[in-house]
């Protein structure tokens, strides 16, 4: 693909929401998410001549963003890793209504407190709507591991939410 600057800007506009949102959901920090998204796109600019198609670009962006995020949290240690069971109790939601902002906020916090690999798997599943096979391909991870991350994370989230509902009653 061409590394023409105008074409590149169009490409950034097309994919900025995907890359930025993955970083934002993972890090829960907009400024840091923009910084990492910018690094990913600069890397894309250098890589563009060797990418063959639009699909290749999307796949490459998901792969690089996911690995940058995992590397970031492993090396920088800006966010202390804590298992979901130890995550602070978020504010109780009144009900599971349509796009309840409090519940959404609580879910984003809970997802952000998952371990690195499980967090990326959940983001690709529920933000990018990828099926487990595509997630396995995007992360170079066995499909059984992806399914196990999804099942375990969903069970933990359900447990956490039901405890919250109990507290809220």
């Amino acid at each position: 693909m061409s590394d023409d600057p105008e074409r590149f800007e169009v490409l950034v506009r097309e994919h900025q929401a995907m890359v930025f949102s993955m970083a934002c959901r993972y890090l829960r920090n907009r400024a840091l998410a923009e910084e990492i998204a910018q690094e990913v796109f600069l890397q894309l600019y250098r890589k563009l001549p060797s990418l063959e198609s639009e699909d290749h670009v999307v796949h490459w962006l998901r792969w690089v963003t996911a690995h940058r995020l995992i590397d970031h949290s492993r090396h920088e240690k800006r966010r202390p890793q804590s298992p979901l069971e130890d995550a602070p109790e978020p504010a109780a939601a009144d009900s599971m209504s349509d796009a309840d902002p409090l519940l959404s906020e609580m879910l984003r916090d809970l997802v952000a407190s998952l371990p690195e690999n499980a967090r990326v798997v959940m983001i690709l599943r529920y933000q990018e709507d990828l099926d487990p096979m595509d997630i396995a391909r995007a992360l170079d991870m066995p499909i059984a591991t992806v399914k196990s991350h999804l099942q375990r994370s969903l069970a933990l989230l359900r447990d956490k939410l039901s405890r919250q509902k109990g507290v809220g009653k």
Partner: protein, 103 residues
Amino acid sequence: MNLEDELRAALRREDPSPDFARRVAARAQSSTKPARGIPWMMWAAAIAALLVIGFSAAYEYQQIKAERASRDAVIALRIAADKLNIARERVVRRETPANTREN
């Protein structure tokens, strides 16, 4: 809504700040400009350095050759002077009469 739908709603995509794409494109362009200029400048600098080294080596070689030639000329002159002295002494000895020498 079940949990999975709630998660889709909570994790839906959102856009970065409005000038994000423009900033990234500007940074991409500025980061590649010096990279494109460097090889040309490096080639010019390398050729200039090679020319300077070549001329210096040639000049040095000429200097050494000139010094060696002048040293050889001095040695040749000394040898010639020694031989002339020997010849002069022999001539002086022959011209001087034997009785003068005995006295």
